[in-house]
Structures are given as structure tokens and as C-alpha cells.
Amino acid sequence: MGAWALKDKAAIAGVGTTGYGAFPETDDYGLGLEALRLAVDDAGIDFGEIDGLIINRIPNYERFVQLANLNPTYVLATEAHGRFSAVSLMLATQALASGSAKVVALVYGNNGRSARAKYGGSGMWAPWGFTSPGATHAMMFRQHMHEFSTKSEDLANISVAFRKHASMNPAAVMRAPITVEDHQNSRFVCDPLHLLDYCIINDGGVAWIVTTPDRAKDLKRRPVHVAGYAVQASFNHNAVPNSDYWYPALRKVASEVYPRADLDRSAVNGLMIYDNFSPTVLFSLEGMGFCEQGEGGAFVRSGTLELGRGRWPTNTSGGHLSESYMQGWGLIAEGVRQLRGECGARQIPNCNVIQYICATNICSSIILRK
């Protein structure tokens, strides 16, 4: 079998992240523009070189293009769901590989905290009081508890590990260390999920500059290559929480992503896992084959995800649970910084390969390498 057609066709040449927190003095446009300027500076390119633009979460692409004063040949807005951070990077890779663009800016802006985004309060099950992505994940996790004897305490290990990482990340919103007891004592939002199983909604912006490896090698920063990716949708027509934990879709992604990147799991130094709610970390680890299905709880119990302790340091920024809910955009920026060796106290030693995983109705994984 020949090499995958898109292997190493894209390189992340720059990343920009704003502060995360409450910034009522700006909005999603302002945050996206600030992140874009930071990413352009980081890459060391001129704005005029940007001929591709993918925006996400920012309400109106036309207004954003006007504000950024850009006239790219390739312009696109992707859906606001967090699953589209990975999809956006895949689209940029395709645009570069096909010659549709040479330098793609990807920009995310979210003022959810100041706009008081609630992620609940509507939907077809509202007459029965059921709403919110958190409740959907709670429903899935209860089933996982029943099927595999998983416990809420297992989730606590995830939250505790990510908070420990956040304590080493000056940009993280929640930095005070927590214990398993703190997790267990935090209030239920949707039983079986506690407050500390939920991501933290904030204001912030993230941007990436993605270009061809040829162009990237002459730029300011060491390029980070998109070695491989795979994606699989997993919707069901029932409109209820997914009873399979996205396992079949994730298995398919796992079967494709490593061969495409031409490496195996043992080459991966660290993970960035989409952690909107802590159960997705277990679903991701099981689906991607880091452990058997149902063994995720035991797998994370002994500090497996913790920097300095475990084999698979995960979400070294603190992730969505403790850094800020930036819908995958911030996690991929962290992956880039790890591969560049810029992470200081939270640096993964000898970091050559980072894997991003997103378990949701569009399951995906991206392998980034130096």
C-alpha cells in the first residue's frame, strides 16, 4: 500500500491564543481578530500571504472578512459544534494539498461566558425536562457505569489530572489543584455527572496558520506537520443519546489514523482529547484502543494521563475542564506548542508526536508530528 495521499501535506506554522476568561469589553469578532494577529506574528508571515480562511463560531463570516480586511481565494465558515475544529484542520489540509490555497488562516472566536451561553433550555425532549449536551453525556455515562462497572470516581481521576496540568499553565482559568474528594463533593449538574465533570465556558479566541511544509520550513517557527487524520460520522435517527459510546466509529478512526500517519500508538508522546465532559475522555481512550472497552476507568486510575507520572500525558494545558472550553481549538494549539517544546513546566519530554482525539457524533483523530 502506498503512502496516504494527504500525509504531511500541511504544516501548522503559527498559533495564536488570546487570554481566556471574562472579557465583556470585546466580543467573538474581537477575540478572533486578536488570535489571528497573534498567529500571524507567531508564524512570521504577512497578512497579504493569507489566501485561505476558515472561521468557526464567529457569527458571520462576511463581517469577519471585512473586519480582517482579507480577500482570500478560499473562504469558508464551519458549523459552531466543537467537532468542527478537527474538521476545519482537515479541510485546510485538503485545500493545501489540492492547491486551492497556499496559506490558510483558521480562526475561532467565542464569547460564550460574557454572552451567558447556557448550552441547554431547548430541544425536542424539553417537555420532559431533558436538555443540554451535559445531560446527554450523563445519560451515556450511566449506561457505561451499568455495563462496565465504571464509577464516578474514575472520572475524578481525569478531572484531577487535567487540573494538575492547568496549575502549570498560566493561561488556564482554573488552576487551584483539586482532589478526587473535591470532585466527588462538587454538586451534581446532571447525576451521574458532577460540576467538575463539566468544561468551563469562557471567552477566548484561537487561530492557526497552516501552510505547505515547503513554505513552513522557511518561517519563524519549527513547523508542526499534520501527519495523518481520520474521521467518521456516527449519528443515529433516534435523536437520543448514543448508546454505543461512539465505539464503532472510533474503532474505525483508530484503524485508519495510525497507518495514514505511518506510525503506531507507541510513537505517540501525548494526547489532546476533546473533554467537553469527562466521560468523553474514557470513550476516546477505549475507542482509540489505548485500553479495552470498559477498562477506561481502571486505565486512568493510576495517573496514566498525568504529566510526570503516566505514559500518556493528556490535555497538558488543562483542557476544556480546566484551561478553557475552546472547542478543540485550544487543545490543538497546545499540541503544537508541545511539539515545539514551548510548554515550560508542563512540557512533555522529548515530544515528537501528539494525537488529538474527538469522540462525538463526528468522531475524529489527528496525528501531529514535528
Binding site: G129, M140, R142, R187, C190, S243
Partner: protein, 137 residues
């Protein structure tokens, strides 16, 4: 007293379902080709993608697949009931519902427990299908 909880959104596809609920009948669409029964109501069979389907009466019997307890206030109409239980129920014919269990709380509900539909006439137009636990787990 005015009903303050959210009401279902009636559309062209689910109107027959809600009309049937008013008559205390639980119905769903069945694919004439595959025999698949599904919910929520939709334009075409999810199996054949064509219009060769019919409405059938369901037994209203099923089992609990999962359940949660909502502690967060998302709806003012539910504020007085927090924390309240919501269950995912799989009917014997196959469709899944998100619903409330009228006679069970956190300590009596269990995955796998058998349930039977009951109808709660919440307005003149709408009867909400809920479920009754048939046995303690």
C-alpha cells in the same frame, strides 16, 4: 392553573403522533419494506429513504436503557421539581424515548427495568407520554 413547562413543537411529521397521544394511543412509523419502527416522526423511512411507511399502534411497553437526575435549572417550569428524573426508554418495537417515570425516583429506578406508557394530559391539546415502572429492579 397555567401549564408552565415547555410544550412540544408540533410539525407536519409529528402531528399524527400528538393527535394519537390525545386519544391515549402511542403510535410510530413503520417501514413497509424493512419492518423497522422508528421515532421521532420523519418524512421517510431511515432504512429505505422512501415514503413506503405507515403509522402503527405501539404496545407502550419497554425497558429503561439509562437515566439521569437533572439538578440544574434550565426551565422555570421544572424549577419546583429539581432534582427530577429523566429516563431513556427503549420500546419493545424498537424506538427510543426520553421521558419521565411517574412512580419512581433515584432509588427505585434501574437500567433494564420494565415500564409501560401512561398519558399525562397537560393541556387541552397535548397529552405527554410518560412511563410507569412495572417492577422494582
Amino acid at each position: 392553573m397555567t401549564y408552565t413547562k415547555p410544550l412540544p413543537t408540533i410539525d407536519v411529521w409529528n402531528r399524527p403522533f400528538w393527535d394519537a397521544c390525545k386519544e391515549q394511543r402511542l403510535i410510530a412509523q413503520k417501514c413497509n419494506t424493512s419492518g423497522k419502527v422508528w421515532f421521532p416522526p420523519s418524512p421517510v423511512s431511515p432504512i429505505t429513504r422512501d415514503h413506503d411507511w405507515r403509522w402503527i399502534d405501539l404496545t407502550g411497553a419497554g425497558r429503561i436503557v439509562s437515566w439521569v437526575v437533572m439538578h440544574q435549572k434550565y426551565f422555570s417550569g421544572f424549577a419546583g421539581e429539581i432534582p427530577y428524573l429523566v429516563a431513556q426508554v427503549e420500546l419493545d418495537e424498537g424506538p427510543m424515548f426520553i421521558t419521565n417515570i411517574v412512580n419512581a425516583g433515584r432509588n427505585s429506578v434501574a437500567i433494564g427495568a420494565r415500564v409501560q406508557v401512561v398519558f399525562d394530559p397537560i393541556t387541552d391539546e397535548i397529552s405527554l407520554p410518560k412511563f410507569r415502572l412495572l417492577e422494582r429492579a
